[in-house]
């Protein structure tokens, strides 16, 4: 890992101010002169900037030279506590590239659960910051550049904080904000069902009908720790189906993956004549995966294509302390596709545990082997 520190000595302030108009025209930023002055001055004055997997190709350009390119810096800021934008100009190579800002650290060790994800279509640009994020003078940020092999970054000035921007700076919204992890409450978390997104469904989560072939509901954004999570419980009003059995599938998005069939569970429940269907998808295996603390960001429930009136009556994230109360809500027919699989010894151990889980079978099977061997030996001896 190559770490390069950039330290630059401050230049003469009068000279900088005289350059200001020139730079403003040059970059066509049309930012207030004071902002740019602050940015430039701060940048040149005390940039305790750290780069990783970035190689300088000139005094202002860097090339990605590894798998984990990032820059750690103190963002220059115009107005402490009121900054609403982080402004960038990183060059054309980074347009459309997924970027992440990590904003919580101790001695440059950044917490992965505090980050803003975004993509910029045109530079210069300003990332709109959520109102509840407050950056102080000592705040260190880490800008991660993802999925950008061999591209070049322009770094004439560091990203800086401001409370306003003006055209032609493009204002971009974060595609995702993760502001820490909320532990799951002991008495489980009942999710608000009024603000779920619907796909191929008409109406709201509280009253909807299937309108096309891929019906599903997506929860609002969550930032819940999976450490104490036992599963997700649903209660729905469902119309009568022509089928005797219906499949429901749960997708769960964590900070490591979005919705994918490789991280989903499917269960099969009997069609219910009284119109109420309830079940729980166990997710207690998530805390056994590595890293053990994952963040549940959203869940998605795919429902069978049955016409008629549906309603999501209840959705609940069940804490492990309440797990026993929901065991009878786990259908016998359950298929879990997990991101992380056992290998080596743990695979053998898991296989044996599965076999011995059916104790009646295990005992009968062992007895069968013993009795067969005994008969074999007896028959062999008696025919000498």
């Amino acid at each position: 890992m190559s770490i390069k520190c950039i330290s630059t000595v401050a230049m003469m302030p009068p000279l900088l101010v005289s350059m200001l108009r020139l730079l403003t025209n040059l970059y066509k930023l049309k930012l207030p002169a004071t902002i740019l002055a602050t940015a430039l001055f701060s940048n040149l004055a005390f940039a305790q900037t750290v780069t990783n997997d970035l190689t300088a190709t000139s005094s202002t350009h860097y090339r990605v030279s590894g798998d984990d390119p990032y820059i750690i810096f103190n963002p220059p800021q115009q107005a402490e506590k009121t900054s609403r934008y982080l402004s960038f100009d990183l060059g054309t190579h980074l347009t459309g590239i997924p970027l992440e800002i990590f904003f919580s650290s101790q001695q440059d060790l950044f917490n992965p659960y505090y980050k803003i994800s975004f993509t910029i279509a045109n530079f210069p640009a300003a990332l709109e910051l959520p109102a509840d994020l407050i950056f102080t003078e000592s705040t260190r940020l880490r800008l991660d550049i993802n999925q950008c092999q061999d591209c070049t970054i322009k770094l004439e000035f560091l990203p800086f904080l401001s409370d306003q921007v003006s055209a032609p700076v493009t204002v971009v919204q974060p595609s995702r904000l993760q502001n820490g992890v909320t532990p799951l409450a002991n008495d489980s978390a009942r999710l608000n069902t009024s603000n779920w997104q619907l796909n191929d469904l008409t109406g709201t989560a509280n009253n909807f009908e299937v309108s096309a072939s891929d019906p599903f509901l997506v929860s609002p954004q969550l930032t819940l720790s999976t450490q104490q999570l036992a599963g997700v419980y649903f209660k729905l009003k469902a119309p009568k189906s022509d089928e005797a059995w219906n499949d429901y599938q749960l997708f769960y998005q964590t900070e490591r993956h979005s919705f994918t069939a490789q991280a989903s569970s499917t269960l099969r429940v009997a069609d219910n004549a009284n119109g109420i269907v309830e079940f729980m998808f166990p997710l207690d295996f998530l805390h056994k995966e590595q890293p053990s603390v994952a963040v549940l960001e959203r869940i998605r429930l795919d429902i069978p294509e049955i016409s008629g009136s549906w309603a999501l009556l209840e959705a609940r994230l069940v804490h492990q302390e309440q797990q026993d109360d929901y065991l009878d809500k786990i259908p016998a027919q359950l298929l879990e596709i997990k991101q992380q699989r056992a290998t080596g010894l743990s695979l053998i151990k898991k296989s044996l545990l599965n076999v011995f889980a059916d104790l009646g079978f295990s005992i009968s099977y062992l007895l069968l082997l013993i009795v067969s061997t005994w008969f074999l030996a007896r028959a062999y001896r008696s025919n000498r």
């Binding site: 089928e243 005797a244 059995w245 499949d247 499917t266 099969r268 009997a270 016998a332 027919q333 359950l334 298929l335 879990e336 596709i337 997990k338 699989r341 056992a342 290998t343 695979l347 898991k350 296989s351 599965n354 076999v355 889980a357 059916d358 079978f361 099977y365 069968l368 082997l369 067969s372 061997t373 008969f375 074999l376 028959a379 062999y380 025919n383 000498r384």
Partner: protein, 428 residues
């Protein structure tokens, strides 16, 4: 002083170890095809459609009986084998996933394979009875009990080939005792297990001709045998139709049916159809020319070579290779030296399928009943591509190379089976 095993001890030891080995495999391995078969069986049981489904009648009803027997020991999970549409009985991976996660899966697999075990061991006993030479019968028994082809296809892949092979074995045994009509009846049972056995039919009929007999007697024998085979083969479908049953219960009407039905029956690539017809015709002439030999010998030798021709030009599913095992083993009765060709076959079959497999045929997918973590654990073709393949030696070339060697092994087998027996002591 150490006393060598007598014949009976050898039989007990071999069968006993064979059974223990089979017990060890039965509950823990399966291909999704076994679950599809189980769904059809339980569909019939759940809905009392006992007088429907004329497809592979014998195998199916043996499985139905054992599945019913298994319900005495297993509370079948509601909906586990549910089929909303019987014509769509081939399972997808979601349905199979439910089966894999069923707490009773090991019981289901054990009981579902139990008839296979019984017919497998019964076949072993008939082989023992068929071969007279004590040394040859020991070797034949060991090959049958411990060959990887039938072990894989029956207890790992989980298919019913041994039931069909049992009836073919019984047919050959009855021919040995000159019970022609019983042999014909048993042959038609084999036909009701696997349609591919139709390939043997002309060779069975030719084998029934005794050149020392009057032509009229031969004509009567042939006509009666053909009638027995046809009647027994057609009887189930006829009865089902007569009682208003649905012989097409599990047949998907939307599935594409090729125009050339014989070609489709043999599952052949079109360009291989005519070479096989030519080779089989040549074999029929050869069988006519050895007309002075016993009926069973002529049938066993030609039935062996029929499959060498068929597999030499054509590759089917991995478990179909089990068909190759029976008749060459029986040819040992006539002094044929087939041990070395068998070893070559096991080796080439293993390498060919390691290269040729997809994700679910010859991979750890088959161990998924132990834990579904085995699904998608990787397979040999990807290892080959990563570490062995180059621009000049691709996976496709490696498969074609092994296919060619497979054809050579079939040729080797044919040579050993058709060659007149020598007086060499070795069976290699």
């Amino acid at each position: 002083m150490h006393k060598p095993m007598n014949n009976k001890q050898f039989l007990i030891a071999a069968i006993g170890l064979g059974v223990l080995l089979r017990f060890a495999l039965m509950p823990f391995f399966a291909h999704v095809d076994l679950f599809s078969e189980a769904r059809r069986v339980f569909y019939v049981l759940e809905n009392d459609y006992l007088f429907d489904n004329g497809h592979r009648f014998v195998v199916f009803y043996i499985e139905v009986i054992f599945a019913w027997f298994s319900t005495l020991f297993i509370n079948v999970t509601d909906g586990l084998f549910h089929l909303s549409d019987p014509t769509q009985s081939v399972s997808n991976l979601v349905d199979y996933g439910f089966f894999l996660n069923d707490p009773n899966i090991y019981r289901h697999l054990f009981f579902f394979k139990l008839p296979y075990l019984i017919f497998d061991i019964a076949t072993a006993l008939l082989i023992w009875k068929f071969i007279d030479n004590p040394r040859h019968r020991r070797i034949a028994l060991l090959i049958w009990l411990f060959n990887p082809l039938t072990l894989f296809s029956t207890y790992i892949f989980g298919r019913f080939e041994v039931i069909s092979l049992f009836f073919l074995m019984a047919c050959a045994l009855q021919l040995k005792y000159d019970r022609v009509f019983l042999a014909s009846a048993l042959f038609s049972f084999a036909l009701l297990c696997r349609e591919i056995n139709l390939l043997y039919a002309p060779f069975l009929l030719i084998a029934l001709i005794d050149v020392k007999d009057h032509w009229f007697r031969n004509a009567i024998t042939l006509s009666c045998s053909a009638a027995i085979i046809a009647l027994i083969y057609l009887l189930p479908n006829w009865l089902i139709n007569l009682t208003g049953g649905d012989t097409q219960l599990f047949v998907d009407p939307s599935a594409a049916h090729p125009n050339n039905s014989l070609n489709a029956l043999l599952s052949l690539g079109y360009y291989w159809f005519y070479p096989i017809v030519i080779c089989l015709s040549v074999l029929a002439i050869y069988q006519w020319e050895i007309g002075a030999r016993p009926k069973s010998e002529r049938f066993v030798l030609s039935a062996s070579v029929v499959l060498f021709i068929y597999f030499g030009f054509n590759v089917h599913s991995v478990h179909y290779a089990a068909w190759l095992v029976l008749f060459p083993i029986l040819s040992m009765q006539y002094g044929k030296k087939v041990v070395l060709p068998f070893m070559a076959l096991f080796g080439v079959w293993l390498v060919l399928w390691l290269l040729k497999t997809d994700n679910g045929v010859f991979t750890l997918f088959l161990a998924a009943p132990l834990t579904s973590d085995f699904i998608g654990m990787g397979y040999f073709p990807s290892v080959f591509k990563q570490h062995i393949a180059s621009d000049t030696f691709t996976l496709h070339q490696a498969i074609q190379l092994m296919r060619s060697i497979f054809l050579v092994v079939m040729g080797f087998f044919t040579y050993r089976v058709l060659k007149n027996e020598s007086n060499h002591r070795t069976m290699l």
